[in-house]
Structures are given as structure tokens and as C-alpha cells.
Subunit: 248 residues, 2 copies
């Protein structure tokens, strides 16, 4: 839907439509919505033929995200698909599940300069406060099973213009995040309005000092101003070549 | 692909195919893969027509996840799509970004019985060690902007058969996770092999005591044995009716 600018969208999710009764209930909700406004657009991920047949009768544009591709795949692979639901989210792969849990625990234990188990880290994110380090680490863990630690540059680090000693041995794992001053001010202001922490002057100083430090040590860096967490994570993997332990 | 059982799949992601040169490079990689094994299946999310035209020429089954639906939507909405890339992951909505960051920080600050800022929580997950509380909380935060805390039931809690006093005031926010003993043993064994913690007897005791406690207090619970984190999160939202602060 992001391809259609200026359209106001009210997304509604109807999960667990797993029986014919629930399919009929979904149809009733869609039809009610159709009476209240524009004709709904139905993005269906139903795989069971009997349920799909019911929901297709609702008053809306029915877009079938699933069978549109399952049928060509059946022809290509010369195999019949199971047409059974619940296949995509099972824990079919316990090793992947474990990788995910371990990586998530690692990111929590090594957040914000704590822990410091950098030997085990795949990547160590570096940056000033509120640049997006923590959510990115957690996302890398949950989504890709990557062990990501993060270290917030303190004022002492920035004044010294040097990497803290505990990071020295792990330079090749460092990846820096930066951000535009306007955006950072907005984010910090929400946290602590009208403080030194959220002042223009302080923010500009921190960002300039941090960027000088990244340049001095040749640490790869990414400007997150216009990036979502998904995109930051994806760009880090793409730049560093770190292997994903889970399928995206 | 999970609809096709017994097929061995080697997923390769080619992100940031943003120029005609990169599109040609993608075609070369696909064609090389075609020579080494089965004909590749190409799942394309390209939105720029010139790039798509290049990649379509690769030796593989080309499935266009995007334009298959953009065209019917253009007709329905009587609007032309932008056909510009990078629309889906922008931080178009700074409020959503902030909700996500705040929820993630909340989940880290209120993990594993720490923090205890339960007044601000949307939900408090309860369960024995390694049942999946932490990754579920973090996922709820990142994916839905939901404020999720978690509390691990201690042996003292289980022996007393009572809710800890600090949770008493928040009964309506509690949601319990359980798991089958075999699966829990497998998970705990990886963490601390051959310990009391991962022994059959201890696990059975903890699970039985926890389930008795959930029943006694009428706390809704979910068996996570066969569930992925995505599914646990989705079922919690569906059961509790907690509002998502972000679009899925």
C-alpha cells in the first residue's frame, strides 16, 4: 500500500481464520466495512481451499497473496503443495529457534555497554545515545539470529576522541550509527524535554565528535535518519557480510 | 515454500538491487545458480520497471510479489502507484518509530522480573525459565509497539502456589506461557547440560506447579511447544485484545 501515496488506509488484521464459521464471520466484518466506506481490499493468506472460497465472496477486492504463487510453484516443482495452514510459523527447525533465543538473550545481556562479552559478538554497534542501537541489536537477534552488542559513546569517550580500551581488541567488529541533528533532537526531546541532553548545542557536539572518531578509526558507519529498524539491520548485514543464522 | 514439504531449499537474498548494473549482477548470480542445480525460483519485490525488466530475463521461474497486486490495486483505487522503491521501510511515521523504540526499551528494562514498572505494561508474561517470555516480549515491542514485561516464576513462588505480591495488583495484565516437558528439557539442556535445572524431574515439577498456579488464579495461558515467537505474539494479542500501536 505504500506504493499509493496520499491514500488513507485503515488496516485491519483478522488472524486465525481457521474454520468455516470464522471465515463467515470475516465476511460479515468485511461487508460491514464496505457499507461504511470505500470497498475494502482483502489481502488473503488463506491456504485452505474451503476457507478461501468463503472469504472470496465478501464485498471487496480479493487479492490472494498465496495461491497466486503456489500454483506456478506447483507446476515448476512438479509437486502438489500441502494447502495446509500453520506451515510457515511452526518451529520446524529447533536449531533456528535456539539460535534466535540465544541471540536475543545475548543482545539483552550486552546492551548499552553492559556485559561486554564482545568476543562472542558478531557485530558491536557504536553511537551516541538514541541513535537506534538497542532496537537494531534486538531486531538483528530476533530476525537473523545475529549476536549484536552495542556500546553508547560517553562524553568521556567523545572528549578523548579515542575508542574505549575495552573495544580496542574488537575493532573489526565495530559498526557505527549516526543520525541527523534535527531527528536526534526530536527523539531526545520526547525523552527529556528542555534538557541539556536534548539541546541543539549538545547534540551537534556529540554527533560531530562521534563522526570524527569513526573517521579516525575507519569504522564503517550508517546514517539512520531516514531508515527504519528493518533497513538499518539489513544494511549492516549487507555492509559487513555477517552471516544470517536464520532465514529472513 | 513451506507449502512444499520435503523440498530442500537454499534461500539466497539479494538486497538493494537499486541500479541497472546491480540488476545485471543479480542475473549473473541467478544464471550461475541455474547451472549448478535446479532452475532457481526468483521471488521479486522490485518496483522499478526498468530493474524488473532486467531481472525477468534471468534463467528461473520469475514470481513477482509486487506488481501482481499493484496492478489490480491501481484499477481498484483509480490511482497510479509510485513505482518507486524504498517506500515500505521509510520512517514515514515518526510516532510509530517512537512507539517502537519506547516499547523496546520498556521490554529490556522490565525483563526477567527486573524493573517492575507493571503499571505501564500492556501485558505481563508469566512462566518458568526458558518458556519463551523474553523473545516474545521483545518481539511484541518491535513488531507491535506493545509494552510487555515478563516475570519468571521462582521456586519460592511455585512452592507457595501463590502469585508474588508485586504482581497482585496487576492480575488482569497477566498472561501465562507453558510448554511441553520434552521441549523444555531440550532447551534447558542446551543451556546447562546434565544439571538439576535441565533434569526431567525438576522440569515436570515446575511445569505442574506453574500450571496449577495459572488455573488457581484464572490466568489465560498458551502452550508454546509448537509455536514460533511470531505465533505466540499473535495469539497473545488475539486472546487479550491488546491494541497494536504499529501496523503488523
Amino acid at each position: 500500500m505504500t506504493q499509493f501515496e496520499g491514500q488513507e488506509i485503515r488496516p485491519v488484521t483478522l488472524p486465525f481464520v481457521s474454520t468455516v464459521d470464522k471465515a463467515h464471520e470475516a465476511v460479515r466484518r468485511i461487508n460491514r466495512a464496505a457499507q461504511e466506506g470505500l470497498r475494502p481490499v482483502i489481502f488473503s493468506t488463506l491456504v485452505q481451499d474451503d476457507l478461501r472460497a468463503v472469504v472470496m465472496q465478501a464485498n471487496g477486492l480479493f487479492l490472494d497473496l498465496f495461491s497466486a504463487f503456489v500454483e506456478p510453484l506447483e507446476r515448476e516443482l512438479k509437486t502438489r503443495a500441502t494447502h495446509l495452514s500453520g506451515r510457515a510459523h511452526g518451529i520446524a527447525d529447533p536449531a533456528a529457534y535456539t539460535a534466535r533465543i540465544n541471540a536475543t538473550n545475548f543482545s539483552l545481556a550486552n546492551d548499552d555497554g553492559t556485559g561486554g562479552d564482545y568476543g562472542q559478538a558478531d557485530v558491536i554497534l557504536l553511537g551516541v545515545s538514541r541513535v537506534g542501537k538497542t532496537p537494531t541489536c534486538v531486531y538483528l537477534a530476533l530476525q537473523y539470529g545475529v549476536f549484536a552488542a552495542n556500546y553508547p559513546l560517553t562524553e568521556d569517550d567523545l572528549e578523548a576522541g579515542r575508542l574505549p580500551a575495552r573495544l580496542e581488541g574488537f575493532r573489526r567488529k565495530l559498526f557505527a550509527l549516526t543520525i541527523g541533528p534535527d531527528r536526534l533532537q526530536q527523539i531526545r526531546h520526547e525523552r527529556r524535554p528542555d534538557s541539556r541532553y536534548s539541546s541543539r548545542q549538545q547534540i551537534q557536539y556529540e554527533l560531530r565528535a562521534a563522526e570524527a572518531l569513526f573517521a579516525r578509526y575507519g569504522i564503517p558507519s550508517l546514517d539512520t535518519t531516514e531508515c527504519s529498524i528493518e533497513e538499518i539491520a539489513s544494511r549492516i548485514l549487507n555492509t559487513t557480510g555477517i552471516e544470517r543464522r536464520l532465514r529472513p
